[in-house]
């Protein structure tokens, strides 16, 4: 375990080198929050609630999902893909480390960078400037439990996408498609509460909603019970396990069948 934490530390230190990147992401994320505020303000107009959600709920929900989106943005799939295509993966595979854990702990370091430099300021703005309010109770605790699971889920999906580079040389198409699918089907773009009943039912069986919708609604939806919380976490954990296993199988299959570039 210490070995992987040491990797996380190096990734974190490397991340701190790219100050400009973080400053720009921070600014664009803050701008996005401002846009969200005015966008949803105008959508609500004079109405108190839409689809059972108040303006405050939607605004907090959207800010939380967008901040989580930036938080989980570690460019992991691009890193994995570049390592595979350039052959840099050879050096990694000469180490006594598990590839999946190595990639995940690396990405985890990046997530810490994001949290420190982007997410925390965004939350400060949310509650400090816009005076948004959330119900405080068990939901905060469960939100804190649900966030790491969501993170793991998002990273494992990225890992699987990155591994496709063993078979195809262009990640662009597949990564953009994933990005859009995840964003829309997870509640990252519009709250899932605004989707038709049938859609919501289908989505609840997919892993995507567990990334953004689960933590955001745990935090903002006061109508959820303790039983709801635990079952939502259960679904997240189940998806994490399933995808971890799938990605391991995928990796061992790919590395066997496919050759490694560069000599």
């Amino acid at each position: 375990m210490r070995r992987y934490l040491a990797l996380t530390k190096c990734a974190f230190l490397t991340g701190m080198v790219w100050r400009a990147h973080f400053i720009f992401t921070l600014i664009s994320n803050l701008a996005y929050i401002v846009i969200l505020y005015f966008l949803w303000k105008s959508i609500y107009g004079v109405s108190q609630t839409l689809n059972g959600m108040t303006f405050n709920q939607v605004f907090v929900y959207m800010t939380v999902t967008s901040s989580i989106f930036v938080l989980f943005k570690t460019w992991l799939e691009w890193q994995v893909s570049r390592d595979i295509i350039s052959g840099a993966i050879t050096t990694q595979l000469t180490k006594p480390l598990d590839h999946q854990l190595m990639v995940l702990s690396h990405a985890f370091g990046r997530t810490l960078n994001n949290a420190l430099v982007i997410t925390l300021p965004a939350l400060a703005v949310l509650f400090g400037i816009f005076r948004a309010s959330i119900p405080v109770g068990w939901n905060v605790l469960f939100f804190c439990l649900s966030l790491p699971l969501a993170c793991l889920l998002s990273l494992v999906i990225d890992y699987i996408i990155g591994l496709t580079s063993f078979y195809t040389e262009s990640l662009w198409g597949i990564s953009t498609t994933k990005e859009i699918i995840v964003l829309v089907l997870s509640g990252g773009l519009v709250p899932l509460g605004f989707f038709p009943e049938v859609m919501r039912n289908i989505l609840s069986y997919l892993p995507f909603q567990a990334i953004y919708h689960t933590p955001a609604s745990i935090l903002t939806d006061a109508s959820l019970s303790l039983a709801d919380y635990t079952s939502m976490l259960g679904v997240q954990a189940a998806w994490v396990i399933v995808l971890l296993v799938i990605s391991r199988l995928f990796f061992s299959q790919a590395v066997k069948a496919v050759t490694i570039n560069g000599g």
Binding site: R2, R3, L5, A6, L7, K9, C10, L13, T14, V17, G87, A88, T90, T91, L93, T94, K95, P96, L97, D98, K256, T259, I260, G262, G263
Partner: protein, 341 residues
């Protein structure tokens, strides 16, 4: 007991025959037109603990592919490998614990971080205890004087400095075997010499088995008593370096810069001067590959290098000379021609 055993090992790659142009690219999507590349083709050898073995061959000979199979990164198409009692591809992680690997064009160091951070990371990765770590770092410092580089970021190092760090880093956990794939590629002579010295010392202090691939004969001459020559996936020679030593030196090339340089006319002038001294039937060639520089290639046993040099200097308006490094291609050609039979 051999530490590495390789038996009838082969690696074949299926490579898609690509077509030209847009239409070709579209065709490739559905193409099943594969060509088989036999990167390594039925090779066998054994390596004893503590040996430094030079694994040499021209570009594309199959050296890196062999190393990748021995390190468990690639799965052999056929044949057997045992490294340290493990089957590398099946026990990649276990095997890796006792091994250090350098691929010359890549680095295991963290590009954006100070050098020392990479050493600290490797300490954790290989679970090196503090005492061993301090001891090893002290030794590296004595051998290669690296301390000054520790606070620098890896990206700010020169290629040679980076390679010194990379090589010492691969010895940090005191591995039983170290694979060095082209560790001197792209380096100038003086740093090459330092790196050879370092490798020799590291081998001596811990009796580490070292497999060194290169296409620079100089590396092998300086370090190895045994060499394995590979070409097009086949082993051409495996044995004592002394027997092939004579072949290395057989052909030498002298590069001279003649002023004024008048193209063909100057080349003829050089050729003529040499004919005057050595006669028509001697085995030498005079060519120009680069404006102003003329390459004279000759057999050393017929025309001693220093003699040719002195003679040319005394008779021609030579501004500058270089002695070209020994070319492996010539040696391999001669082995094919039966020079070792």
């Amino acid at each position: 007991m051999a530490i590495i055993g390789v038996k009838n090992l082969s690696k074949h790659f299926k490579v898609l025959n690509r077509h030209e142009g847009l239409l070709g690219a579209a065709r490739d999507l559905f193409s099943t037109d594969y060509r088989l590349v036999k990167a390594v083709d039925d090779i066998s050898f054994q390596i004893e603990p503590g040996e430094i073995v030079g694994y040499i061959g021209p570009n594309g000979a199959g050296k890196s592919t062999t190393i990748k199979m021995m390190t468990g990164i690639l799965k052999p198409t056929e044949g057997k490998i045992e490294v340290n009692g493990n089957v590398p591809f099946k026990n990649r992680q276990k095997n890796a614990q006792n091994m250090g690997v350098i691929f010359g064009q890549r680095t295991q160091l963290w590009w954006d971080l100070p050098v020392i951070e990479s050493f600290k990371l490797l300490k954790e990765i290989y679970r090196v205890d503090q005492e061993t770590y301090d001891h090893q770092m002290g030794m590296f410092n004595e051998l290669a004087d690296l301390k000054a580089l520790y606070p620098q970021t890896v990206r700010s190092l020169s290629l040679g400095q980076r390679m010194l760090c990379d090589i010492t880093a691969s010895f940090l956990h005191n591995p039983k075997i170290v694979f060095l794939d082209e560790p001197t590629i792209g380096l100038d002579i003086s740093i090459k010499a330092r790196i050879r010295e370092l490798i020799k010392e590291l081998n001596r202090t811990h009796n580490t088995t070292i497999i060194l691939t290169t296409h620079d004969i100089g590396d092998v001459e300086a370090l190895c008593s045994r060499i394995i020559i590979i070409d097009q996936g086949h082993i051409l020679y495996d044995g004592d370096i002394k027997r092939v030593n004579q072949l290395f030196g057989a052909y030498r090339t002298l590069r001279v810069q003649v002023r004024p340089y008048k193209g063909e006319q100057t080349i003829d002038q050089v050729r003529q001067t040499l004919v005057e001294r050595y006669g028509e039937d001697r085995d030498f060639t005079v060519r120009s590959r680069e404006m102003g520089w003329i390459n004279i290639t000759f057999r050393q046993d017929e025309m001693p290098l220093l003699e040719v040099l002195n003679y040319a200097m005394s008779r021609l308006p030579i501004r500058d000379v270089q002695i070209v490094e020994l070319a492996l291609e010539g040696v391999i050609r001669r082995i094919y021609e039966g020079a070792l039979q």
